[in-house]
């Protein structure tokens, strides 16, 4: 399959400061790629380069097989980009603004109205079409920004921190929207919120000081095997008797009555563990599967800390 976005050896310097170094990534149709990193890791610079807003100091970018440097017009026509600050004109109404964006992205005259109403419907803006953008709340402005990136039905959608400034319900809606979008096109987004990546991304790339520090695909299947659990017990036994439970390789005491249990292999499961804990009569109060290593990896990479084994 042909990648929608492919970058090779991307570098970007601001004076002496190197914001992005030797970054190579690929985005395929149907994927949501999350760029994760602390503030100043080079996420926005990377996205700005892919969107053609910033010239890379070295390296090349292909969008849908077209070189962004040599044929920017052709390459940009399949891109939709939401920058960190949504590029809105406060003096225009939502309808006027989206119509302008559609025309700017070469949507033909007759199709503009349809494209605008589709984008509004998708982003929940149908009722505010006639209001001035400057009078909308931050959350609605963010949605107008997202609508702007979708109005011309691009193959690749680039979203720079799309859920900033939204309330939890809006965040859920935007995540659902991103999920819908990815069924037919590629989405690349940046964030510094871990659960966001776990909720919507099919692949993650952690950036640290402009370098790719970690890349992996996130599996969303239900029968994934959890490797560790956090439990809370009302009548905690000796640590030694906990570690004698079948299928447990390692036990850590986190606080009084709270433990982390690491499973020894794939043959042991949560139900098996719960059964044994209840039978032992320790008063099991909590059994929480720990999220697979992403958070630990992120913390380790970005702070240089060692996580507990």
């Amino acid at each position: 399959m042909k990648p929608l976005i492919k970058t090779e050896g991307l570098y970007r310097y601001y004076g002496d400061h190197c914001a992005v170094q030797n970054l190579s990534l690929e985005l395929y149709p149907g994927e949501v790629l999350g760029l994760l990193g602390p503030n100043g890791a080079g996420k926005s610079s990377t996205l700005r380069m892919i969107a053609g807003n910033l010239a890379p100091s070295a390296g090349s970018i292909w969008v849908d097989g077209v070189d962004l440097q040599s044929d920017p017009i052709q390459a940009k026509s399949v891109l939709g980009y939401l920058p960190e600050n949504p590029p809105l004109y406060p003096e225009l109404t939502v309808d006027e603004y989206l119509r302008y964006c559609a025309r700017l992205h070469c949507v033909s005259g007759g199709a503009v109205d349809q494209a605008v109403s589709d984008a509004k419907g998708r982003c929940g803006l149908s009722e505010v079409g006639r209001r001035l953008i400057g009078n909308l709340s931050k959350g609605y402005q963010q949605r107008v920004g997202i609508a702007q990136a979708l109005v011309h039905n691009p193959k690749v959608v680039i979203l720079d921190e799309p859920t900033v400034g939204l309330d939890p319900i809006q965040i859920r809606e935007i995540r659902r929207l991103i999920g819908d979008l990815s069924s037919e096109r590629g989405v690349i987004l940046s964030t510094h919120i871990l659960p966001e990546v776990q909720a919507i991304c099919s692949r993650v790339l952690i950036l640290h000081r402009g370098e790719q520090a970690y890349a992996s695909s996130l599996e969303h299947d239900a029968n994934r095997v959890n490797e560790s659990f956090v439990i809370r017990l009302k009548q905690p036994p000796e640590l030694a008797s906990l570690s004698q439970i079948q299928g447990i390789s390692h036990v850590d005491q986190l606080s009084k009555g709270q433990y982390r249990l690491c499973l020894s292999g794939t043959e042991s499961s949560a139900s098996n563990l719960a059964e044994q804990l209840v039978q032992a009569g320790w008063g099991l109060e909590e059994l929480i599967p720990e999220q697979p290593g992403l958070e630990q990896i992120f913390v380790r990479i970005t702070t240089g800390e060692q996580t507990p084994p």
Binding site: Y14, N53, K76, Y81, E84, L104, C106
Partner: protein, 250 residues
């Protein structure tokens, strides 16, 4: 695509009070000057009648009116042009244009046409004022058209200077100061041309009034047209190059 950008520019201009207030103040001052000229003409008319080859209405009213319009627009254009690019750079909306499938030269031309549309309205309003004289007299239409052409070219050149200045800074105020500086310099540089010396011919050629005065006196010379076209072309090309380099700026 160019027209889309130009239409948005013009629309945003008229959605803010800036354009309306500028047009109103401009029209008020011009009307005042126009009436003063008319009054003076009415006073000296009996003496003119007895003169041979006396200057007519066009000389005494239209030409001073047009040179006043030129000075006023010179003061006005930096206020209109300062926001063209620098405002978008500051508010971040320029990203929308940069990520759209539009070449930079089209962005610049669109912005420029939007501003020219506004200036066209000013030109129209001042020409209507001059044409109102037809109600009670005879005008030298050839001279009037030459004067209007000159006025239009002065405005277009000033707009191009303002557009380039607006790409240089993300602060609209700085862009306005820059355009005032350059435009006044181009307007006043021929003061040095009066002095004897090798440089004076060059200074006279660089100065805008030299070329504008020819047109006000009814003389449309191709060398003057070339001056304005060079001035506009140079500023627009510099603006395109400047925006292109913004993408690479550290």
């Amino acid at each position: 695509m160019i027209l889309t950008i130009a239409a948005r520019e013009l629309r945003s201009l008229f959605l803010s009070p800036l354009a309306w207030s500028l047009l109103a103040v401009m029209q008020f001052i011009l009307a005042w000057l126009f009436l003063v000229q008319l009054e003076n003409f009415a006073l000296i008319q009996p003496r003119l009648a007895s003169m041979e080859n006396a200057p007519g209405v066009t000389d005494l009213i239209v030409v001073p009116l047009f040179s006043n319009v030129a000075i006023l627009t010179l003061l006005l254009i930096p206020l209109l042009s300062m926001r063209l690019i620098s405002e978008e750079l500051r508010s971040g909306t320029f990203a929308l244009l940069l990520s759209a499938p539009v070449s930079i030269s089209r962005i610049v031309l669109g912005k420029y046409l939007g501003l020219l549309g506004m200036l066209g309205i000013i030109l129209l309003m001042s020409s209507v004022m001059a044409l109102s004289l037809l109600a009670g007299g005879v005008l030298d239409v050839g001279r009037l058209v030459a004067g209007l052409l000159g006025l239009g070219l002065v405005m277009a050149a000033a707009a191009a200077v303002g557009l380039y200045m607006s790409t240089l800074s993300a602060q609209p105020g700085v862009a306005a100061v820059g355009s005032y500086g350059l435009l006044l310099f181009l307007w006043l540089i021929n003061l040095a041309a009066g002095a004897e010396g090798k440089g004076s011919a060059l200074f006279a050629w660089i100065a805008m009034p030299t070329h504008f005065d020819h047109m006000l006196s009814g003389l449309v010379r191709s060398s003057d047209l070339i001056y304005f076209i060079l001035c506009i072309g140079l500023c627009l090309i510099l603006a395109v190059r400047r925006i292109d380099s913004l993408r690479c700026k550290p």
